[in-house]
Amino acid sequence: MPKKLGIAIAALLIAAVFMCGCTGTSATGETPKRTLRIATTTSLYDTGLLDHIRPMFEEKYNAEVLIVSAGTGKALEYGQRGDVDVLMVHDRAREDAFIDGGYGINRRVFAYNYFVIVGPDSDPAGIRGMQPEEAFTTIMEKGEQGVSGVVFVSRGDGSGTHSKEKAIWKSAGFDYAADVRGSGDWYVEAGKGMGETLAMASEKQAYTLSDIGTFLAYRGDLELVPLVDEGAILLNIYSAMQINPAKYPEINSTIARDWINFLISDVVQQEIASYGVTEYGRPLFFPSAGNWGKIGVTQAECEDPIT
């Protein structure tokens, strides 16, 4: 059957193209591009910031940057298994554990912003303008009393935002597993990404915790307003770190270092400061340079290039 033979040949050709594509050999004889693999958190990737600065880096360093976005939990898993060269996440406690475990080195803080507690404009629990801990306590009390319309939607997915939510419960004096989770119909776990969780909160006219970037990006489709956006605990710090080459010797550590130094360079810090202003009327991130005192990290962690 000549037709079948034709299909088989086509398949082989396609397979051959894939092989070439995957080994990265260039037939044109140019110097081969270096490849950098990054795992990052969805809330950072979804803002578009990384795709905005990626071409600048690729041109300057003759590199190709491959970015995989996943919840912080999964991103850390990719890092721990050596599947990426750099991690960009926002969960200080778990980053510390990752570094202590010997998997990550050379962490640098490159940006920060704030989480917001959002909810329906009618604000049935009356949390507008409260401190975050006080707002959470009030939502819980009103929710357990069965006040109509008081529901909190949690990410419930082990993401960095979920970690922050747990930290706020803890700071408010509650044991997350014992007091909060499963304590009543007022507390709902979405088990989804930030955008879907916001959509769910909007449908249910419920409260949720969100990073500001995703909230602004999604705002047009939501019937939710920011109710609490001040309080030290809402600080959201984004860091980048290298996967330890001692664990995985084949890791591309030179270009990983270049990327992290690129992030804290003046040019990129200025890009971070202005990113999103035209679209949202306000920046989505603040640069870490010069602000290290304000966010409680060392100057070295924000500004010293990795050597």
Binding site: I7, F18, C22, R37, G48, V65, R81, D221
Partner: protein, 233 residues
Amino acid sequence: MNEIAEGLLRAVGLIITMNPEVMAITARSIMISFTATVIAALIAIPVGAVINFSEFRGKKTVINLIQTLYALPTVIVGLFVFLFISRAGPLGFLRLLFTPTAMIIGQTLLILPIMTGLTVSALSGVDQAIRDTLHSLGATKVQFLANVLKEARFAILAAVAVGFGRAISEVGAAILLGGNIRAASFWSSTRVLTTAISLETSVGNIELSLALGIILLLVALVVNLLVTTIQQR
């Protein structure tokens, strides 16, 4: 409801203007899923034929097992392949994770059971009268196989189309193994229609998500039209 109309308009706009990024994503989707389908067909059709034509103990159990695997969740297939090809896994040295090749492997494994099972059904569906006639005419084993396969070709083609449909519409394995990467070069990127839909939904681009979904359905439509045309000849 407005969003659906806007999605439709947007899809038409993206297709008419040949939006380069959408075209690249669509082409990548088709190539990855087509390759997976061809590889799966090259395995599933002979295996299905062997299962159908041979008599062995536990044949029913094997068929049951294959049919159970129709329900294989895509994420589990993805996770299974991931554990093998992740750098810490046994095949990690091949550096396949986050490449189109990894996605092809995942999709091939995903659709193998359904294509094998449907091949068995297709062959066993060939009329007993035809089999008897072939035997009574004194057909050799090879002639018998060739003729039964020929009789079942449309049903087997349908099995292949089902496999392609499942491959191009799945998102679980594609996102875990490919990583939904948008890179400068075509083959370094692993963004396909389904993973792009997933991303655009999570960032709130509802119309674009719908538009990409409509494009995916258009691809399926073209494939089905092709299959029907071949069947009617």
